[in-house]
Every structure is written in structure tokens, then in C-alpha cells.
Symmetry: C2
Subunit: 211 residues, 2 copies
């Protein structure tokens, strides 16, 4: 019997998908959690019954999919993570794969694909759809040196996603406008942006800011 766990903040969906998984032969659902923290908590207190596969949502409150997957890859490498999300954004897909996810399913896939994906992840270690395959190969070859934003820069970006002027942002962060100017410059440079509008779009796409 293969053991499956679900991590998704949308209870109705995880319950419903749990029902689907139970229909598959040789599958059982051992746990449903609403976020990564709750799931890890479950793992530490249950020595047996550890799942073989986790169906993991990406966007969740408290502890998101990326962070949780990183944790699992490190501390429970035998548990396979299969991402299951509505996010089609390439960067999101790549983040999950880089964090150790063995596959990435969109929520518009069919029931039969879900079963196939679960089986393949268990038996072969991974399952890539064509879309994900493409994204991975494209992005991987494109030797993109991963952009690393510093904490202070992230904070600046969040503020930049409001109607405040840079001067007002400086006040709010207790810094000189010129320092903010420096953050702006380095962020623009790192991300290849032309103006603040681009920054806002970037921040939203990458979940730094949620409108």
C-alpha cells in the first residue's frame, strides 16, 4: 500500500483530491495538512505511517511549498514531493524543482495523470510533464546565475509596491533617500529592470509582494 500525504491550505480541495487518491488501487491517504509547518509537525510525531509521496501545494500561509520541500529534501530525503499547484509561472516551477520536488502537476491535469505521476514518482523517482520538461531544460541551459536579493532589498521592494515615493520609503525604513536610491539601483541591475513598474510586476510574479 503506497502512502500519500496532502499539503494544501484549501481544505475542500485536499479532501476532494484525497478522495480521488483513495480510489486508486494500492493507495492510501495518511495525512492532510493545511501548511508545511503542520505537515512537518505531523512527520516528527509519527514514526511509522510516513508517506511515500507528498502532494504539495506551493502558495500556502505560514510555511509555503518551496520552504517545506527544501526542509523535506534535507531531513526526509526518502519522502518524494510532487508539487500540485495552479501556479504556471516558470520561476515558481523552477523554484520547486530546485528545492527537490520530483515533479510538478498543474491542477488542470486529469485524474489518470495524477495516478500515473504518483506511480512514476514512487517507482522511478520522478515525473515530468512535457511543460515542466521544457521549462527545466530551457532554464537549466540558460546558465542564469541565480539572482540573490538581500533582506534589506526585499524589504525595499515590498515598500516599492505601494504608492509611497522613495523619500517616504526612506523615512519608513529609517534610512537616507540616497540609500534607498542605492537599493533601487542594485535591484534594477540584478533583475534587469527599466523602471518601478517592472519592479512591481517582478515582485508580484515572484511572490515578494501579494496585491
Amino acid at each position: 500500500m503506497y502512502k500519500v500525504a496532502l499539503v494544501d491550505d484549501h481544505t475542500l480541495l485536499s479532501e476532494a483530491i484525497g478522495g480521488l487518491v483513495r480510489q486508486f488501487i494500492n493507495f492510501e491517504v495518511v495525512n492532510i495538512s493545511v501548511n508545511g509547518k503542520e505537515f512537518i509537525n505531523y512527520l516528527e510525531n509519527a514514526d511509522s505511517d510516513k508517506p511515500d509521496v507528498v502532494l504539495m501545494d506551493v502558495k500556502m500561509p505560514v510555511m509555503g511549498g518551496v520552504e517545506t520541500t527544501k526542509y523535506l529534501s534535507k531531513h526526509y530525503p526518502r519522502i518524494k514531493v510532487l508539487a500540485l499547484s495552479v501556479e504556471e509561472e516558470e520561476s515558481v516551477v523552477m523554484q520547486m524543482i530546485r528545492s527537490g520536488a520530483k515533479g510538478y502537476l498543474l491542477k488542470d491535469t486529469r485524474k489518470s495523470i495524477l495516478e500515473q505521476a504518483l506511480l512514476e514518482v514512487i517507482n522511478y523517482g520522478f515525473y515530468y510533464t512535457n511543460t515542466v520538461e521544457r521549462i527545466v531544460s530551457q532554464t537549466e541551459n540558460l546558465y542564469e546565475e541565480e539572482v540573490v536579493l538581500k533582506d534589506r532589498e526585499i524589504e525595499f521592494i515590498k515598500h516599492a509596491c505601494t504608492e509611497m515615493t522613495y523619500k517616504q520609503i526612506a523615512e519608513k525604513m529609517f534610512l537616507s533617500p540616497k540609500t534607498i536610491e542605492g537599493y533601487r539601483e542594485s535591484v534594477f541591475q540584478k533583475l534587469g529592470l527599466k523602471n518601478r513598474t517592472g519592479l512591481v510586476i517582478y515582485a508580484i510574479k515572484n511572490n515578494i509582494f501579494t496585491p
Copy 2:
């Protein structure tokens, strides 16, 4: 036997939720469509078997939840629409309610609530959760004269959500920069915005632009 239809572009979810609904006593699923257009198409070709309730997603390609609900309210007033979405945005909730939805469930509600909501919508005509109740009463009392944006303004807004300068937007729209300036002015005035950043956030919140 109450007849339920599902409209959601995420096949896996609608299949799964369909399974849930089938578990409820006296309920059957008569149709699952991936968008409003497909659903309406189904309705016109099936004289019997018309559903009592439709579980409707909001964000869908081709024909979204708001548009579809408006159409149903007009042409099939006896079919009740129950929105089922991840969108928590107040404006989105209000748009659905105004379009004729009899209730609005978030995808993180429990199975039992779904059953209760379905029953109440069928028997009493509507089902409002506390959250929706609050949003409706707040927004309704707040005699907000609905902002009407013109087509040309919407087009401008979409362009303003890119890294183009206003001059470049003017070129793209075959207009003088000064005309664009006029659009900017009137849009800012109508929406009470301070700068372009605010406009971008507004556009994304209101699905004028999707990043």
C-alpha cells in the same frame, strides 16, 4: 435528486469535487465544464438534466465566472450559481454577487459546509458565509458610485502595466503623448490613485492585467 454542475478550468479539482458531491445524499453531478462557454453550450443542447445549482469558479480562460453568471442570471434564472473560488479579493466577491451568484465559497471551506451551502441555496435561494455577509453589507452601504472605465482607458492601463514609458505607450496606441497624459489623469482621478505603481496594483487586483 438535486442536480449539480461544475464549471472550473482545473479539471483535477472539478473531478475531485464532483466525487465529493456525489457522496452527498440526494445529489448527482450532471455536467463538468472547463469554462463558461462550454457550460452554456451544454445547457443549450440538453433540455432535460438542467442543473439546479452550478458550482462556478471565477478565474477561467475563454469565459470567466462573472460573465457566465451574468448570462445565466438573465437566460436561466432558475439555475442557481454558487461561486467556488480561491479569490478572496472583496471586489471579486462583490462582482460575483452583483452578477447574480447566490453565494461565494472559498476553496478552503469544509466538505460539510459545501453540502450545507448547496442545500440552502436550493431550498432558501442563497447561502452567505460570515465573510461574504460582512463584505456585502460593508460594500453595499458604502454608496460607492461604481467606477466606469472606458475601453480606451482600460487599454491604456494594460500598457501602463509594462515597462514602457508613456511616450512609448502613446506610440503603440497611435496617439499623442498628451492624450495618454489625459487618460492617466482621468484614471488616477476616478480611482483615487497617486502614481503609476498604484495603478499597476489596482489593475492586477481587478483583473485588468494579469502578471
